[in-house]
């Protein structure tokens, strides 16, 4: 009876120390996550020897977002990341992805009360957007032209935009 705990722990150790073979090639090591992209560009046929269904490519690059795409990333910081290094985004995305969301999903500033109401204290002019009289592209309104590619000529009510 005294030996029962020993036996149980021994069995546990045996179960977790079970020998398992990996089918991965030796170069699928800790650096592979950073290196596999260039390897695939060099010789995709070699990848398809094992990944013939492209399941692993599709799973990570098209289906499920990476862990670092947290709710904070989705709602706020992805724009900053895109300004830092767009080549990182291009690992999976092209431009249609950015635009297809930003047509409908607006920045947080746009959701505050009165953002589009000229009579409101929260109206976007001189709160989130600032226009000088000269060059539209070099203004502090650059926040705006990320989505609004060209200077709006009229307002929603049809008036001429300043």
């Amino acid at each position: 009876m005294k030996k029962l705990p020993i036996l149980i722990i021994f069995l546990l150790v045996v179960s977790v120390a079970y020998a398992v073979d990996s089918t991965k090639p030796t170069y699928h090591n800790t650096n592979w996550i950073e290196q596999h992209g260039q390897a695939a560009k060099a010789n995709e046929a070699e990848c398809l020897t094992c990944h013939e269904e492209r399941n692993e490519c599709i799973s990570c690059h098209e289906d499920t977002p990476p862990r670092n795409h947290t709710a904070t990333f989705v709602n706020r910081t992805h724009g900053m990341q895109a300004r830092i290094d767009k080549t990182y985004c291009q690992t999976c995305h092209r431009q249609d992805y950015c635009d297809s969301c930003h047509e409908n999903a607006f920045p947080l500033s746009h959701t505050r009360a009165g953002f589009g109401d000229i009579n409101s204290a929260g109206f976007h002019c001189q709160t989130s957007c600032q226009l000088p009289s000269s060059n539209w592209r070099s203004t502090p309104a650059q926040n705006c032209i990320v989505c609004h590619r060209t200077r709006p000529t009229t307002t929603k009510s049809g008036l001429q935009h300043p």
Partner: protein, 509 residues
């Protein structure tokens, strides 16, 4: 009595220690090769949770064919301020090895159906399963309800391949990926001709599969490849022409030249690459080396990339889907990473990346990034892989723009129990410091100078634990729980905790 019990326990613990020690000493089998720092099979779960498994064996089909089929159900329950439960169904089929004449016929068909009970967030039409597999040629493709966005059905890969049915020719038809331009997905055809082992040529044509059904673009292109296996050299040239339905100046192109050189000699293996692309009127380039010095357990990666010229006044950034993601300024960026294995159980990696823009513009920021990892291989337990990671970004402020800093730290751990059971656990803590507006605006009314320039110092914590269990060859079950805490939501008086439970059930034949 107490002393007696203590004595018995001490003796038993001593036995346990001896037995465990002896057992671990005599078993030398890793779940992976420790001296090569190969990660466990499920290591990619630390990058993404995806639990869709591939078929392995397949079923004989006819005399020479092999049929692989798989079906996956993915159910996700996410609760925070609101509850969301999308369900996904994946069905995949690959028929290969079917002899046609002297050649082979291959069929690939991958489909996904999705349902989401809450496809919008607040009043925004933000689709929860709005991922890469959502792209299609038409918004109402097959069964998706266009009214409330509550479901979709997509063929995300569907093609036929005729390999060498016509001598020296491989033909792919259907929804295919073009390796020539970064896996660009089209509905079309690719014809590959291989007259020699030292030369092959592709011609392709199709319609891009995009989030926009009205993309009005066709792409046609060609590429040649000169592979020299004996020397490990590959030279590739590709040209893709994107045609808009309205034609004229809207048409654009992507041209590419690439050289890869593999080096393999004791005690070192390396891959060297150099590539230059012409995207519209912009020239971008990259070059680098990934090397592994076996004898000293050292890995060295160095890379540089950049943009030499810019696209002045791009006419239509949607045509090729490449041009809008170019830099507005010429830039150069580069970096490197060195990993050093110490004995078989410890590996240390450090890296740096930096970017310099030749002009200061809104969308192009200089930055410095420093990152590192410490991997403990089989140290805690013979079949355990533990990695501690840190990643720091600093974007300095400029005359007109505010600075940003970001640091991520955490750990990743995978335990292989048996060939049937693996589990993983990880924690990432991210700190982001930034101002509300990236622009250093001033002179705003109604206290908005203060609001726009307010400094945010926010933490996001992500923790996950999951396991995959394969009771039999034809079935794999994955279960995972993810916890996320975000200061961003707390500061906005929203629920900062998000809990997600996700289950994947794979049937594989």
């Amino acid at each position: 009595m107490k002393n007696s019990l203590k004595s018995v326990l001490n003796v038993e613990l001593f036995y346990v220690f001896i037995v465990t020690f002896l057992f671990l000493t005599c078993v030398n089998a890793y779940a992976y090769k420790g001296d090569e720092f190969i990660t466990p099979d499920s290591w990619n779960r630390h990058v993404t949770s995806n639990g869709v498994r591939s078929s392995i064996n397949g079923i004989s089909f006819g005399e020479t064919g092999l049929l692989k089929m798989s079906y996956t159900t993915r159910a996700k329950l996410r609760f925070s301020d609101e509850m969301d439960w999308p369900i996904y169904q994946y069905a995949r089929l690959r028929l290969s090895g079917v002899q046609v004449g002297q050649g082979e016929f291959v069929l690939n068909l991958n489909v996904r159906g999705a349902y989401d009970n809450a496809p919008t967030i607040g009043d925004r039409n933000y689709h929860r399963f709005y991922d890469g597999l959502y792209a299609s040629r038409s918004y109402n493709e097959f069964t998706r309800s266009a009214e409330n966005l509550d479901g979709d059905f997509r063929i995300y890969q569907g093609n036929m391949e005729f390999k060498n049915v016509i001598p020296i020719t491989d033909i792919s038809l259907g929804r295919i990926y073009l390796a020539q331009i970064d896996g660009y997905k089209i509905d079309g055809a690719n014809i590959k001709v291989t007259p020699s082992q030292y030369f092959n040529m592709n011609v392709y044509y199709g319609l891009p599969v995009s989030y926009y059904s009205n993309l009005k673009t066709q792409v046609a292109g060609t590429n040649i490849e000169i592979p020299v296996e004996s020397s490990g050299t590959r030279i590739k040239l590709a040209y893709s022409y994107f045609m808009h339905d309205d034609g004229g100046n809207l048409n654009t192109h992507v041209a590419r030249a690439r050289l890869d050189q593999a080096l393999s000699f004791n005690p070192m293996a390396a891959n060297i690459y150099a590539e230059a692309d012409l995207i519209g009127k912009a020239v971008v380039y990259e070059a680098g080396i990934d090397s592994d010095i076996h004898a000293s357990k050292t890995g060295i990666s160095l890379y540089v990339n950049g943009q030499a010229t810019i696209n002045n006044d791009p006419i239509n950034t949607y045509v090729s889907l490449y041009e809008g993601l170019l830099g507005s300024s010429e830039y150069i960026m580069g970096g490197g990473k060195i990993t050093q294995g110490i004995v078989d159980k410890l590996l240390i990696g450090v890296g740096y990346e930096g970017r310099f823009n030749f002009k200061t513009l809104y969308g192009d920021r200089n930055y410095h990034r420093v990152f590192g990892n410490i991997d403990l291989v089989g140290l805690i337990h013979r079949n355990n892989y533990l990695s501690l990671i840190v990643d720091y970004y600093n974007v300095p402020e400029t005359k007109y723009q505010n600075g940003i800093s970001q640091v991520v730290g955490g750990f990743r751990m995978t335990q292989v129990f048996t060939e049937q059971l693996e589990a993983w656990l990880g924690v990432n803590v991210q700190n982001y410091q930034y101002r509300n507006s990236p622009i250093r605006m001033n002179g705003m009314i109604n206290n908005f100078d203060f609001i726009n320039q307010r400094v945010n110092n926010e933490n996001t914590t992500l923790a996950y634990i999951g396991a995959i269990y394969k009771p039999v060859e034809w079935c794999a079950l994955q279960l995972e729980y993810v916890f996320e805490y975000a200061d961003l939501f707390k500061n906005a008086d929203l629920q900062p905790d998000v809990h997600t439970v996700e289950m994947w059930v794979n049937f594989l034949w």
